[in-house]
């Protein structure tokens, strides 16, 4: 029987999930890389809620239990499944040793719950916003193209890149300065780009994270079509969420057909080409936070179809070998290189970094239904920053920055959180 890795149901994942030995590796970073016992978890849900059900392995068993009809979706089950960032930490931790697709099961579990019991009210509001206003930001006002009235975009008629702004940058006033800085940096670097403004579709990830796969598919196809219709040669995403969605999810529905970069990668290229020159010293010590969307969740997806056979009696082999995302092909080096070029800046590393970074609570639409959990997650990350000696964090994901700022203001308020774009702007153009 021919199998694919474009999983459409929990049943398709059963044989992989059945290999879970409940070893608990899904709860910790790869053990060889653990640097501090106090910060040795990789799963925000398990860190906060403690129950095995909240871990990657627990979610996997919940999925199997529901699939096999051993149990039913209850409010409690829905709550546990949603009080998880779906950040993929469990997935890459498990895959240090195995090839089980834990994150895929989590998405299928959510889809099953959504189909069976619908969405929680706060998630339903997100889906309604997507259906009615074409974006997931329930409390945001204005239209998607309004930002163009405030921020000068020097568009080219022969663009190299389609600049994908995303709803957060387009709609949230607190990101307007960063958006302005980004556009100025691109202009300073001589980048020829175009924007879609009001017609830029949302890439749809929130629907997948909630469990409405059909809605997600419709948005994903629209986004892929918008890219295809553009004359630009590639896409540059300002938002880490869009970047992750373009690279890891959209190809399952429609070939994007053009290279997709995150703006940090473009900064890195511009600096290396001498087109951007960080000159002004920024005398600060900042800890770089790897956002899950920019990191492990952005690892490109590769289509596979093949067979699973047994050899040597019981050894399971897939032919051809199935590509397994283990998180190591996310965007990790570019932001570090950019920061290393800023004079005076000292970049610190978290204990948990790169593919095994701890999420800051922004992913998986957990914030909408479990704000306390999301905040606890961000507070845990903040505590880690302090433990590595940083009183400031730099990142490049608007949702991450927002969560970390909320955590900072809920504690002693002394830790500051900056966007990499703003730091670079300060050094290059301020």
């Amino acid at each position: 029987m021919t199998l694919t890795n474009n999983y459409q149901s929990m049943a398709e994942l059963k044989s992989l999930a059945g290999k879970c030995p409940r070893c608990s590796l899904c709860k910790f970073p790869p053990l060889v890389a653990v640097r501090d016992a106090g910060f040795s978890s990789i799963c925000p849900a398990y860190e906060v809620n403690k129950m095995h059900a909240s871990s990657g392995g627990g979610m996997l068993v919940m999925g199997m239990s529901l699939l096999e009809g051993r149990s039913e979706v209850t409010d409690r089950v829905r709550r546990i499944a949603q009080e998880c960032t779906a950040c993929g930490g469990c997935d890459i931790a498990c895959k240090f040793s195995s090839d089980i697709e834990v994150l895929e099961v989590i998405f299928q579990l959510r889809a099953h719950i959504y189909k069976t019991a619908g969405a929680a009210p706060a998630h339903e509001a997100v889906l309604q916003s997507m259906r009615a206003r074409l974006h997931p930001l329930v409390t945001a006002s204005g239209a998607l193209g309004d930002w163009l009235k405030d921020v000068p975009a020097e568009q080219s008629s022969t663009p190299d890149y389609l600049l994908w702004v995303g709803p957060h940058y387009a709609l949230l006033p607190e990101l307007r300065t960063t958006l302005t800085h980004a556009l100025k940096l691109l202009a300073a670097g001589g980048v020829r780009y175009a924007v879609l403004g009001a017609s830029e579709p949302y890439t749809g990830r929130a629907a997948l994270e909630i469990g409405d796969r059909e809605l997600f598919a419709s948005f994903a196809r629209r986004a892929a079509a918008a890219v295809a219709a553009s004359s630009a040669k590639g896409v540059v995403c300002l938002s880490a969420e869009d970047y992750a969605t373009f690279r890891a999810l959209l190809p399952r529905f429609s070939a994007v057909g053009k290279p997709v970069l995150h703006v940090v990668e473009l900064y890195d290229q511009l600096i290396r080409d001498g087109k951007l020159k960080p000159a002004k010293p920024v005398a600060r010590a900042l800890a770089w936070h790897d956002p899950s969307y920019l990191g492990r969740l952005s690892e490109p997806w590769t289509s596979w179809s093949g067979e699973r056979v047994k050899t040597l009696g019981q050894m399971i082999l897939e032919t051809p070998p199935r590509p397994v995302n283990r998180g190591d092909h996310g965007c990790y080096d570019a932001p570090r290189r950019v920061l290393s070029r800023v004079p005076g800046l000292r970049t610190l590393e978290f204990f948990r970094r790169r593919e095994y970074a701890f999420d800051s609570g922004e992913c998986g639409q957990a914030l909408a239904v479990a704000p306390g959990f999301a905040l606890s997650t961000a507070q845990h990350r903040l505590a880690e920053a302090r433990a590595v000696g940083a009183d400031a964090i730099v990142t490049e994901c608007p949702q991450s920055a927002s969560m970390l700022r909320a955590a900072a203001s809920s504690s002693d308020g002394t830790t500051t959180v900056q966007m990499l774009t703003d730091v670079l702007f300060e050094s290059v153009l301020a």
């Binding site: 059945g18 890389a33 068993v61």
Partner: protein
Amino acid sequence: MTVAAKTSAGWADKRTPEEIAELRETVRRRLVLELGERWVETDPCVLDTYSWQYIAEAATGSQYMPRALAIALPADAEQVAAVVRLCNELGVQYKAMSTGFGMWNSPIEPDKVVQIDLRRLDRIIKIDAKNMYAIVEPYVTGNQLQTEAMKLGLNTHIAGCGAQCSVLASATSMMGQGLDGVSMGFSNRNLLGFEWVMPGGEIVRVGSFGDAGDYFAGDGPGPSVRGVIRGFAGALGGLGVFTRCAVKLYPWSGPKQLDLEGGSPNFFARIPRHHTAAVVVVKDWKSLAELGYRIGEAEIADYLGRNAPSLMAGVLTVDNAEAAEVYKIPMLHELYYALVVVMTAASTEEMNYKRSALREIVRGLGGGALSNDFSPAGIQDFLRFLKVVSARLGTRAFLRSMPSFLGLVLRDARRYGMAKAPMALTSLLYQSLLRSGMNMRGVFRFAGTFWTAMGSLVTWDNAIRGARVGAQIKRKYIDQGVIVDDGGDNAWGGLYEGGTFSHLEELAMYDQTDPEAGDRVAEYVAETNLACVDYHCGDSLNAVGPPFHRMFSPACMDYDKYTYRIKTTFDPQNAADATMFTDPAFAPDARLEARMQAVLADRAKVSIDTSHAGAPVRVLAPLH
């Protein structure tokens, strides 16, 4: 075949679903009063997440153990005691788990047991660097303790189940074999004082903690109870709950943190200047036995043990496709008579001494070594290594190995860079032994799961003998296609405390979603247990639960009668679920008896000669 076989008519649940639901609700309500709503769980789907267990298929035929009545997550010893007293009061059993890896953590009967999840007791209470011990709660993992101990120049024993598992669980309640045993002992040997919620709910502090208020010794002024609470194999939760314990720590001469490069799953660990990681190979089993003793007696190794070729293929690779390729290399198959070694030292002089001592031992046995020692003598050792392997293999097969071997080196060059490629194998060996974080690769990925057999704590040469007996029995099941064909020999284990005792267990990898495989592997376990008795291989690490205790106890001074008396004295109500220990409520199961008879009737032919060539084969006589 099931391990605990509480499934006969004598154990049939006579309660109605309504009665069970009422009991569950009563238990839930009372637990909530003790712990709060957030820390009690009765949702069936959530209960299933606790039921899903490693080798559950052996007990139940599915991947789920029976569901608990409820899950309780107490925050401290007082709350644990409250839960235990409540269970006694309500007449329900309880079963505690720490990191909870394995079916022995779960109840064997449905809807009768409160599962106590000790996840919230996760603190390293103290590391006393001067006196070299640590006090930990149940959910502290080997990895966490080691991470903090290394910062203080100390190290800890980590059990073979992996560094993600609880330190306390194996120290107080399980076995705890590991490849660091040559220098850091065995889990039960490292247990000092402890805090124990007794089966009735009384909290006692044992060892020096009970007397002096600190945990520096496991025995107080009165009689030791370490033997009582755990003995050889531990009570597996059958004698109450351990909420805190102290364990010995050992000197560590390495850096505070491993010097790591790259990313998951291909980290490259730079081996410190005064450390050595090596695979040493000799020419036959007899030399292997001598090799282990001599290295142990020389007190030069921090880590010493055996990984069979198929296990190495698993650890060295990141997926099965790669493993299958590596496993095809003929040279790898000749690493049967090999030990893996890590030696640490505080100075160049000390390391020079250790390397010289190892070299003398290995050369004295006609062997060689592959290591991170690139000195002229180290290169000579490597050439001897190749010579030993090629002598066993024959020139043609040796040459046939070369393309694949070079392919492995090229893979490492791509992965880590050309300069690091020659060190890649020893780097993997070093990090896998030191941090015990790659064990899962070797045993789970091939087929999904594994079970193990033999593994008694015996002399090293007897352990080798036992492993060979186990491999011959395993061959029968390999030929039937129910376990992975790893050549038969997949004996994993090491030597403890300078080689005064040791263990080798015979791993059997299989697909747990294949019902026949699960069932037959349970027969393999039963058959190897019988062989342990017949061939005087010691009490197997599968001497777990009443059916298997019945098998071993008559040959081992009727130990089960003593553990039974301990259980009934300390826990007259049988409140702590002791299904995996010695269960006063155990009743023989007709199905189990029938399956045992089937095993007895079809036992593998085994040669007890230990030479590589083999000897006349005899059929084992029936046990009884």
